[in-house]
């Protein structure tokens, strides 16, 4: 059993330390992506013509291999966590921007009219009406982005052991300890499932106003 959790010293982290590092490298980019997506999505809602080109750009960015990102970024941010996290943040946009745009657009016109007629200004209307109603769609997007980010962190291994749990794959290879690869893969998958479940729970807590399954009007 100890073989699975006996982490080689070159990684300078315990098993739990690697998990913490992995979560940090995966979740900070999603958070940054969310903060960037909100204003971008709002612009796309406000100016409809902007949405197709923005969608095109995020898709092209998503198509760039992370290795190519690393080659460019390494000159500026070095062999660091930041170099791993920047591409992950960019990748999250391809999911988050459409999720937020669709969510905000799903607010019924009569709800918006009612808000306007009651004297909500545009900012207040966005923050107090559109955004809260878009929460289910936004969290659906966050779930996909988070799971994908957790699995993508491993590639950071290629730039000097910056891949958290992914570094175990490399160690499994150089130390001939295949059990480390099993630990890496199983732990990453477990993290992804737990993060997904946590977000699903957050959604339920934040939206008591959603019809429960099977409930009718």
């Amino acid at each position: 059993m100890s073989g699975y959790f006996d982490i080689p010293s070159d990684l300078q982290h315990s098993y739990l330390g690697l998990i913490g590092l992995h979560l940090r490298e995966a979740l900070i980019p999603v958070l940054a992506g969310l903060l960037l997506s909100l204003p971008v999505a709002q612009l796309c809602v406000r100016f409809r013509w902007l949405y197709p080109p923005v969608l095109g750009v995020t898709t092209v960015l998503y198509a760039i291999p992370s290795l190519a990102f690393f080659v460019v970024l390494i000159d500026y941010t070095g062999q660091s966590e930041t170099t791993v996290m920047i591409p992950l943040a960019v990748y999250s946009l391809v999911v988050l921007v459409p999720a937020i745009v669709d969510g905000v657009r799903s607010v019924p016109q009569e709800t918006l009219d009612a808000a306007t007629a009651m004297g909500f200004g545009p900012v207040r209307r966005y923050l107090q009406v559109q955004l809260p109603i878009a929460v289910p769609a936004i969290i659906a997007g966050l779930r996909v982005a988070t799971v994908s980010s957790i699995s993508l962190v491993s590639v950071g291994m290629l730039i000097g052991n910056q891949g958290a749990l992914g570094n175990l794959l490399n160690d499994a290879n150089i130390y001939h300890r295949p059990e480390l690869a099993v630990t890496s893969v199983v732990t990453t998958a477990a993290l992804a499932i737990l993060a997904d479940a946590a977000l699903a729970l957050v959604r339920v807590v934040l939206t008591p106003w959603m019809p429960r399954k099977g409930a009718t009007r």
């Binding site: 004297g119 200004g121 929460v135």
Partner: protein, 362 residues
Amino acid sequence: MAVDRLSLEIPDRSITVLVGPSGCGKTTTLRMINRMIEPSEGTILLDGVDIQKQPVNTLRRSMGYVIQNAGLFQHRSIVDNIATVPRLLGWSKQRARERAAELMERVGLDSSLAKRYPYQLSGGQQQRVGVARALAADPPVLLMDEPFSAVDPVVRKGLQDELLRIQSELGKTIVFVTHDIDEAIKLGTMVAVMRTGGRLAQYAPPAELLTAPADAFVEDFLGADRGIRRLSFFPSGALELQTAPVVAQDADAAKIAARGSADVPYLLVTDLDGKPLGWGEPKDLKAGEITPERLLPYGRPFVHGSDSLRAALDGAVLSPTGWAVGVDDTGRVVGVVSQQTIGEAIRNAHAQGSGDDVRAAG
């Protein structure tokens, strides 16, 4: 152009209905009042002051707004939906909620619904919340855009009656948009009939509209039975009811024989409480053996005095005997009246030209 050179004077503390076919600019007109649509020319005065003179959101917070499907905030509880405008005006949460609870009672919503969310309410209940939300900050003006169009006819009638009741208590200045001419006639103190292109076809009290449509368009829009509908404005109180053809279920043979005559081919049998059971021919009625199942149906009774001639005529038409049954508030028979008598009352009412001051009762 949606609305073209429309000039309307909307009276204070009464319901003004804008009615017309779709695309006639009635919603556009309504939305110009709270500046959700800005007119390209012309002015709108509120108490003599141009509505452009104050900040738009201040203006809107001083006008309640009710729309089709209610447009509730699905992410807020019922009480918070109703408290929206008071909160915008800076009331404390506590005070806004107290006010919301008060309004729920006023619009006939059970207080147990306060913590529910809109999806848990029926369409009719949601619409009541919409009305309560519009009234929350006690605005002098209420704008209503087809508020009851999306609910079924029974619920709609209930909501209309409720609106008239609330209006009699609060006396708001209400502008009400609908495409339903019956709704317009029932609710309106004044009715503005609009035609396509946002032009005013006629602006008149409902009784006048039915009596003297301005042109073929208005006449067509009022529909085929405007004569019958106009009867809604004539009270039934002036009808002379007959009590002779009414017998109780336990009447004896002599009484039954005495009541029947050539003028009175049928007798109305009531139960011991005075509630109607049905009609029977005097020769078929055997004392002590009258069974309600064998009587002819009595149609739909009208409440003498508070119902209109329309309700009385309807009752007479529905009854196979051609006689209408008049009852009091508790449903007890006060007398019966024949189609002929109702016809005379209608002719008299027309001759007097009265009815203009009477509110729609049917």
